[in-house]
Every structure is written in C-alpha cells, then in structure tokens.
C-alpha cells in the first residue's frame, strides 16, 4: 500500500472507493443517473461505455473536480467532495484531455503538479525522475511540452497522475488518439501499477483494453450502470454460447438441418458465405460438425469460432453496438 500525503489515517474500511447513487445533470441532460459501485485495494475496475455514456462526468465527480448533484463518493473511508482537499491526495486522476502547460518543460510540469500534490524536496526530485523514466521521457525532460508528439503528451499526462503514488489511479480513456506502440506501453504501465497493488479505475470504450486489464467491469450507458461483474460473470449473462462461422459451398440448407440435430447446437443458419452456428462449446463439437458437413457434400473453405465477449454483452443489454 502507498502512504497517502497530507491525509488523515485512513479508515480501516477495506474499500478504496465507494460510489453511491451518484447523479449529475447539465441543464436538461441527465449525464449520470444514480451510479453505484465499489473498488477494493489492488483491484482494476473497468468502466466500459460508448461515447456520451457519462464516464467522464462520473469520474470527474469521483476525482472531486466536479460537484455532484446527488450521491456520495467515499475514498479510503472519507467522504470526498470538491472541497475536501485532504482526501484528494489518495487519488491520481488522469483526465481524458491532455492537461499540460505548453510553455513549461516536462520536468517543470511534473515538478509543479508534484508540489500541488504536496511533494517536496528529495521525494519530489526522486518521483519526477522515476516518472520520467517510467514514461520514457527522461531524455526529453528539458523540452517544452509544446514540442512533444501526441503520444509523448499522453504519456506525460498519465505520468502526472502517478507522481504522488496514489491509492487509486483513475484513467479516463488514456489511449485515445495514441499510436499502437504508445498504447501498448501505456497498457503495460497500468498493468504494472495494478501488480504493485494500486487500485485502478479505467474507463474506455475499447473492449480489448478492459478484457486485458480489468478484473471487474461496469458497463455504463445513458448515465446508468447497466451491468457489473467479472468478465466471466458478464459473459454468462448472454448465455455461454460460442458462435461458429463457416465459409462453405454446397447444400447449405441440408447441412444446417443435419447440424441442428447435434447435441449442444442451439441454432444453425444459412448466411451469404456459408453457415452460422450458435453452440454451447465449440471445441468438442467441431469434429462432429465437420462430419455432418462432409455427409451433406459441403466443401468448407474456412471456420471461425467467436467466443462471446463484452461487445456481445453490450449488444445483448442495449440492442446496440458499443462502438458507433
């Protein structure tokens, strides 16, 4: 566990974050409509939702940047509002938009925000160096950030959130607009933080990132948390069925009929390219499926098995695709 700065001794409560019935409206728009969830120490929680779902609004309230209309945020046992300054050092917030001073160097940016977090002296110097190392910006530390590439700015943006070694790291779509390499290195960094015991709240609309990083996921849509659980738990919601896509030619209708007779097959349909099957577990079934196809004189040129993912979960819950 990290030692928080300027903070009262934390409550023995095992939770890093508790969000209860959080609400926020912008005029007519109800951006967040009563969201409740919790994060335990060392947990990596993914908040997954499409554009405009209310992820950023939720996170800004948790970070104590935006005043909530209603509800409660408890961080390390204390209730956090925009004015409870001491609790804020438990949180490292990385905003969705890059927030840096263009005319200051990378090192000056880090030193300034470090001081705002209460760091000083040797500890500040050490943390600035460590973060420069971690973000791979050591050799550019003396350059003004206006000269940085988008990816470098993103990395520094994340680094600032890590400076004071918070108990809870909140990342708001940290990989948007970042090249593949930077993205991989950002994801590695976050994974490393989690390994070191830091709790993470990670928002994104990239399923791969959530599947790779997070042990628990909340799916948010239209300002509401519509489902929550581990990946396996969520996937079970759509029924644990695999989708088998077969590219084939021949008597497809006859083949579909034969396959549908097989145990463990729920559905077999004809598509433009061949057949699409919905099965309980594809792996043990595949030999029997090929047998049935051969028996119908169908020639197969390709097979693809899709296990259900969070995309399917989202589709199942909302009837819409996650990405527009």
């Amino acid at each position: 566990m990290n030692t928080p700065l300027n903070a009262p001794a934390p409550d023995p409560s095992p939770l890093v974050l508790q969000v209860e019935d959080l609400r926020k409206s912008y005029g007519e728009i109800q951006a967040v409509k009563g969201i409740t969830f919790e994060i335990a120490p060392g947990e990596n929680y993914g908040l997954l939702g499409p554009n405009g779902a209310g992820k950023t609004t939720t996170i800004q309230m948790i970070a104590g940047v935006l005043e909530a209309d209603g509800g409660r945020v408890t961080v390390c046992g204390g209730e956090l509002t925009t004015t409870t300054t001491s609790l804020k050092s438990h949180i490292g917030w990385v905003p969705q938009e890059v927030a840096l001073y263009d005319r200051l160097t990378a090192r000056e940016n880090l030193a300034f925000f470090g001081r705002m977090q209460g760091l000083s002296g040797k500890r500040l110097a050490r943390r600035v160096d460590e973060v420069l190392q971690l973000t791979g910006l050591s050799d550019r530390a003396g350059d003004k950030t206006i000269k940085f590439s988008g990816g470098m700015r993103r990395r520094l943006n994340i680094g600032i959130g890590l400076l004071h070694e918070p108990d809870l790291l909140i990342l708001d779509e940290p990989t948007v607009g970042v090249d593949v390499q930077s993205r991989a290195s950002i994801l590695d960094q976050v994974a490393e933080m989690t390994r070191q015991g830091m709790a993470v709240l990670y928002t994104t609309h990239y399923i791969e990132e959530v599947e790779r990083l997070c042990n628990r996921v909340g799916i948010i849509d239209h300002g509401e948390l519509i489902a929550e659980g581990t990946r396996t738990e969520l996937v079970r919601m759509v029924g644990e069925r695999d989708r088998v896509l077969i590219t084939a030619e021949g008597d497809l209708t006859g083949g579909a009929g034969r396959i549908e007779q097989l145990d463990g097959v729920h559905q077999a349909g004809v598509t433009n390219e061949g057949l699409e099957l919905l099965v309980d577990d594809a792996t043990p079934l595949l030999p029997r499926i090929f047998e049935a196809l051969a028996g119908s004189g169908i020639s197969v040129s390709g097979v693809r098995v899709e296990e259900p993912d969070l995309e399917a979960v989202f589709l199942h819950l909302t009837g819409r695709a996650l990405r527009d």
Binding site: Q60, G64, T82, T83, W93, Y101, R103, R115
Partner: protein, 394 residues
C-alpha cells in the same frame, strides 16, 4: 500558502515565456516613455527651457512693501526660476507684455506700501497677455501668494487684479485656463496650495496606469486559459483546493500590476524626469490603484466565455479607462460630464492622489483618493472573486 506561491511562480514563468506581459507591462510603456522624451524633451525639461520672464514696474518707489516684492522676485531670479526686468512706468510695462518681451508683468501703484500699512485697500496689478494663459496663471498665483503673505503679516486687505488689455470675459477665461493647466514644476512648488503634478510626472503616471490595465487581468485570464487547457481541472483534483487557486490568480494580477507601474515609475524618473515624492505613500496609492484596476478588469473579463474574449474585454477597459481617467489629457478639475465620469476610474483618483501628494503633507493629504481607491478595490475584487468561482470547474 506555499501552494499559492508555487502557482504564482509557475504563472509568472509561463507569462515571461509568453512575452505578452513583458511587452505590455514593460517594453511598450518604456518605448512610449522614450518616444515622449524625444518628442517633448524640451517641453518637459522645465529646469532649463521654461523660465518665465516677468516685468516689474514699481510706482511705489521707496515703499517698504513694494521693495520687498521686488526683492522676493529677485531671489526667485537668482534661483534661476524666473527672469525679472524692471520698467520705468506702467506704459512701458504694458508695451513689453504686448510685444512679448516679457511673459507677464506686475505693476505696483504709487502709495501701495502706505496704503497697506494704513490698513486700506490697494492692489498689485498683474499685466498679462490673453494669448499666454499659463503665464497669466502663474503670475496671478505669485501675486496672490504675495498678497497672502502681506495679509497674514499686516492683517490688511491686499488684493490682486488682472489687467492689461483683458475684457472681463477674457479674465474669466484666463483664470479658468490657469487653474486647469498644470504649471511647470518649480513654479508650482512655490504654490503649496495649488497641488498639481508637473508635465513629466503627470504623463508618466498616466502612461504607467494606462499600460498597467493591459496586464492587470493576467490572473483572471490565466484562470480562463487553464480551464480551456484542462490544467485547471487537474489543479482542482489536487489537495490545493479552489480557494487557494483563486487567491494565487488574484495575487498574480496584483504583483504584475504593481511591478508594471513600479518599474515604469522607476524608469520615467530617469528617462522623463518624473518626480515621485514620498515613496511609502506613493506605494500605497500604487497598490490601491492596482487593486482597483485588477478588480474592475477581472469583473469585466470574468463575464467572458473564452480567454480570447476576456483579453479583448481587458483591452477595451484599458483604453476606456485610460481616456476617461485623464491619462492622455487632464480631465479632472472641471465639472463637465466627462470629469464626473472620470471619477469612476482608478486613474483619476490615482493622479489626484499623486497631485495632492506633490506638495508634501504625507498620508493625510491623500486620505480621500486613497480611501476611494481602496474602496473601489475591495468592492470590485469581492464581486469578481465571487464571479470567478463559477469558472472553477472542469
């Protein structure tokens, strides 16, 4: 508290690298000062160029009081403040004034001393040229002061009249003009009761105020800019807290404003020959004027939706207050609408404060302008701080 200092330091560093502040707060006023000193060098250098020539015709020969007047004038001449020529009679004095041989003249009538001693009424007659109202004013002031000295010495009613080819209306005009135009420094300093700034000091103070307003909004502007660049949200997520962020921004404005005025006053002292007296009280006036200007600019700029818009608001306020406040030409003093409006600007009160202070007297003589400026600062800063709070969000 340390957070506030770090924010101010960070902002100053950014501003210096941005250069806008340097240009408006320092370089532009200095360039203007240099240009003014080149253009008006002769006009401003009162020590050498503006030495008034006065003529005296004394028909009260041998009278102790009239001789005293002539001697006093002679003393001023030895000090190099004026030049004095003596004329045989009234007619020759009138001619000298008319022909411009002297700037103005004093005629002391026969029996003047006796009349004063007896306690009856008599007059020193100021002969002036209506085309030279400034000199007329100066001459009248000298005569008035002389009359006052006599009055206090003898308790007799000595009075002064202005003559010399002036109609009654012209006399009124001369009087008005003379009361408005700041007489040159050295002569004015003889006149403790006419508290006016000399030319270089007046324009230096005005220029300093004018340019200060262009930079004094830096706090509120940088707040809007930080909001636009999302760094404000980041600050708000730190334990620093919204109150200290606001405090830092207003402190930044204040420091930049005082720095701009202070540096310009320092440079104008050497470049333009401005005279700054009673530094502690002047410093109080500067701080109050900067506070009031920061409040007004922040109030107006705080209404802006973007940093660019706020910047434009600031410029409009700067120019409007610069004109109204009499930094380009004197406005205060009359009772026109403009003069009344000018009382709404910190500039007018600042100039008035410096004017009041120029004759000495310290804190007591600037009590009113200082109180008005401080009041303006407190009211406008309070409102603008309250208004700025709505910008303290992501």
């Amino acid at each position: 508290m340390r957070d506030i200092a770090w924010i101010v330091l960070k902002d100053l560093r950014q501003q210096v690298r941005d250069r806008t502040i340097l240009i408006f707060g320092l370089i532009a006023p200095l360039a203007i000062a240099a240009a003014l000193s080149l253009a008006f060098g002769n006009f401003f250098q009162t020590d050498e160029s503006v030495v008034f020539e006065f003529g005296i015709a004394n028909a009260d020969t041998g009278g102790p009081i009239s001789e005293g007047f002539s001697m006093a004038m002679g003393d001023l001449e030895t000090e190099g403040l004026i030049e004095v020529t003596f004329h045989r009679n009234r007619a020759s004095l009138d001619r000298a004034v008319e022909e411009g041989v002297v700037d103005a003249g004093f005629f002391i009538p026969h029996g003047f001393s006796d009349a004063i001693v007896e306690g009856s009424e008599s007059r020193v007659i100021v002969v002036a040229n209506p085309d030279a109202p400034v000199v007329a004013g100066v001459a009248t002031s000298i005569a008035e002061q002389f009359a006052l000295e006599i009055a206090s010495a003898s308790a007799a009613g000595a009075t002064v009249a202005i003559l010399g080819g002036l109609s009654p209306e012209q006399m009124v005009q001369v009087g008005l003009a003379a009361s408005r135009i700041p007489p040159p420094a050295r002569v004015a300093s003889l006149e403790a009761e006419i508290r006016q700034l000399d030319g270089p000091t007046y324009y230096s103070a005005g220029t300093a105020m004018f340019f200060m307003v262009f930079v004094v909004g830096v706090g509120i502007l940088s707040l809007l800019e930080e909001r636009r660049r999302h760094t404000l949200a980041r600050l708000l997520s730190s334990p620093t807290g919204p109150g200290r962020i606001l405090a830092a921004k207003f402190l930044l404005s204040f420091m930049v404003g005082v720095g701009s005025v202070g540096l310009f006053m320092l440079f104008s002292r050497f470049l333009l020959g401005a005279r700054w007296v009673d530094l502690p009280v002047t410093a109080l006036l500067v701080m109050a004027a900067v506070g009031a200007s920061a409040g007004i600019v922040s109030l107006v700029a705080g209404w802006a939706r973007t940093a660019e818009q706020a910047q434009n608001f600031q410029s409009v306020v700067a120019v409007a207050m610069g004109i109204l406040g009499g930094t380009f030409f004197p406005i205060s003093g009359g009772d026109s609408l403009l003069a009344t409006l000018s009382l709404g600007t910190p500039h007018a009160w600042f100039m008035r404060g410096l004017g009041d202070l120029s004759g000495g007297g310290g804190l007591a003589v600037v009590a009113l302008p200082l109180a008005v400026l401080t009041g303006m600062a407190v009211v406008t800063l309070t409102i603008s701080v309250l208004g700025a709070r709505r910008n303290l969000r992501p």
